[in-house]
């Protein structure tokens, strides 16, 4: 058909939700992302694992353009975010919901005002419909009837669930999770994981989480990407990653320190270096 190879940049991939090409990002003189590339299809449930401080949050924030890349491209449904200004980005961000590591609820607002934030600013529904949608979202995260509470009155796990309700109430296509279980006790963590799974199944979203918690990664992903030294080092279906014999992947999955321990200390087996 064509004499030369088709330019892949202009081939429309109908199911390609997110594509990152050769992303570079440094803070000062410290390089964090060094040519990261990845692809995520519509409806996938993907987890990015990697060491703390390895740049997982930085990568996630690039997907929704909270950070600007030094070099490289981020495409959402084929649209290059790097060419848009902050105001043009607003409509792209409407496709996203994001749950922050600390939930990042607006602490001057009530739970209802937090969860209804987008809907009330858009004014497309009546106040009654918004009330119903908020109640539904709170129901989904198993916190019905707490509309009038302030974030300060809630526990860490509850705050994250309210954060999740705020992220899904306006029916985004992509939900991003930054360390959804970090800082929670195992029970609260497992509960968040099952909610993430439920949101993925019931709302048919594309789900992208970053975490260093392998137990959580197992539960909420079909596919795992490992971010290591600023690039995607491994990319495979979850069972393959869990059974990988690659030393770097294996050590991370099993929590084995890779650096040489100091001569006079012995690493405690129950406290992997996080």
């Amino acid at each position: 058909m064509a004499l030369s190879a088709p330019d892949t940049r202009f081939v429309k991939e109908p199911n390609r939700m997110i594509e990152v090409r050769n992303l570079w990002k440094s803070f000062g003189s410290q390089p964090v992302l060094r040519g990261t590339s990845l692809r995520i299809e519509r409806g996938e449930a993907v987890v990015v694992i990697g060491r703390s401080g390895g740049g997982k949050s930085v990568l996630l924030k690039h997907l929704i353009a909270l950070l600007q890349a030094d070099q490289g491209e981020v495409l959402i449904e084929g649209q290059n975010l790097c060419q848009l200004n902050e105001r043009q980005l607003l409509s792209v961000r409407r496709k996203f919901g994001m749950l922050f590591q600390t939930a990042a609820l607006f602490d001057s607002l009530t739970v209802y005002e937090n969860v209804s934030f987008v809907l009330r600013r858009e004014r497309k529904q009546t106040e009654g419909e918004i009330r119903r949608l908020v109640a539904e979202a709170l129901e989904m995260v198993e916190l019905p009837g707490i509309e009038e509470k302030k974030p300060a009155e809630l526990s860490g796990g509850m705050r994250k669930r309210v954060g999740l309700a705020r992220a899904i109430v306006y029916r985004p296509e992509i939900v991003l999770y930054d360390e959804p279980t970090t800082g929670l006790d195992p029970i609260a963590g497992a509960r968040i994981d099952s909610l993430i799974r439920r949101v993925w199944q019931q709302l048919h979203v594309t789900s992208v989480a970053v975490t260093h918690d392998m137990a959580s990664a197992k539960r909420i992903s079909d596919r795992i990407l490992m971010l290591h030294e600023g690039v995607i080092y491994a990319d495979a279906r979850t069972p393959e990653i869990l059974n990988s014999t690659d030393p770097i992947v294996y050590n991370f999955v099993h929590g084995i320190p890779t650096h040489k321990p100091a001569a006079n200390t012995t690493a405690a087996p129950f406290s992997p270096d996080i």
Binding site: L90, A104, R121
Partner: protein
């Protein structure tokens, strides 16, 4: 060594000025294209305007009183006691009213704005706002800017009136100046321009306080220490800018109106 340090400082200052200009531009764009939220504006107006009353009234009264006493002590030597009111009234209207109200607003309102936005920044609430398809300038900066621009001149007018009233009490009741003369001199020497200059300055100071404080908050460095620093820098930067721009405004506006 010293030169590189100065160079660094200067570049830093110019960078900040550039960022501030961008923020002002963005606020302008937002005002042109976006309908500001009335509720947020009213909330801010309440915080800036209503809650600053006691500070502004106290400042206005104290300044009027001391200005009256000091002017009287000097004028009394040359037997011009009755002219005291004119000095107080002109001074309060075009200089001390707006500048002192501006400085008090900086301390009370500017510091609070920088601390609030700074805390939101370090707790990722600003990022959360952006993920919720909301521009931080639309939601946070514009209502604050409108509130200080509206409240600035109103509070200044209040400070001027209270200051002159307090000076009347001191001058007439305490120092024994004839009341009718005191008022007559105020009337004769205070031009409408003096008050207008004061209110124009107050509007400018109001906008300046909101923009500088919001900028410092939105660019707050990480951590509790960062919030503290942003707050201090906002107060220092806004106060100094008020004092310096006041001088140039006096020259410019006086020339313009006379």
């Amino acid at each position: 060594m010293l030169l590189t340090l100065l160079n660094q400082r200067l570049r830093n200052f110019l960078d900040q000025l550039g960022e501030l200009a961008q923020l002002v531009g963005e606020a302008g764009r937002s005002l042109r294209h976006q309908r500001p939220s009335w509720r947020d504006f009213i909330d801010q107006l309440y915080f800036v305007g209503v809650k600053s009353q006691s500070v502004v009234i106290t400042t206005g009264a104290a300044t009027g009183m001391v200005l009256c006493a000091q002017t009287y002590f000097q004028f009394h030597k040359v037997k011009m006691d009755t002219a005291t009111g004119a000095v107080v009234s002109v001074g309060m209207s075009s200089e001390l009213g707006p500048v002192l109200a501006g400085l008090m607003l900086t301390a009370r309102v500017g510091a609070a704005m920088a601390a609030e936005l700074g805390t939101m920044k370090v707790t990722e609430q600003i990022d959360a706002l952006r993920t919720l398809a909301t521009h931080p300038v639309d939601y946070l900066v514009v209502p604050r800017l409108l509130a200080t621009v509206v409240a600035g001149p109103l509070l200044t007018a209040e400070a001027i009136i209270v200051g002159i009233a307090a000076s009347y009490m001191v001058g007439v009741n305490l120092l024994g100046i004839e009341g009718a003369y005191y008022l007559a001199y105020i009337n004769r020497y205070t031009e409408p321009q003096d008050v207008l200059i004061g209110l124009i300055k107050a509007t400018w100071f109001g906008g300046l306080i909101a923009m500088v404080s919001c900028h410092k908050g939105l660019t707050c460095p990480q951590g509790a220490e960062g919030v503290g620093r942003a707050t201090t820098e906002a107060v220092v930067a806004a106060s100094i800018t008020i004092l310096i721009s006041n001088f140039f405004l006096t020259l410019l506006l006086t020339r313009l109106f006379n």
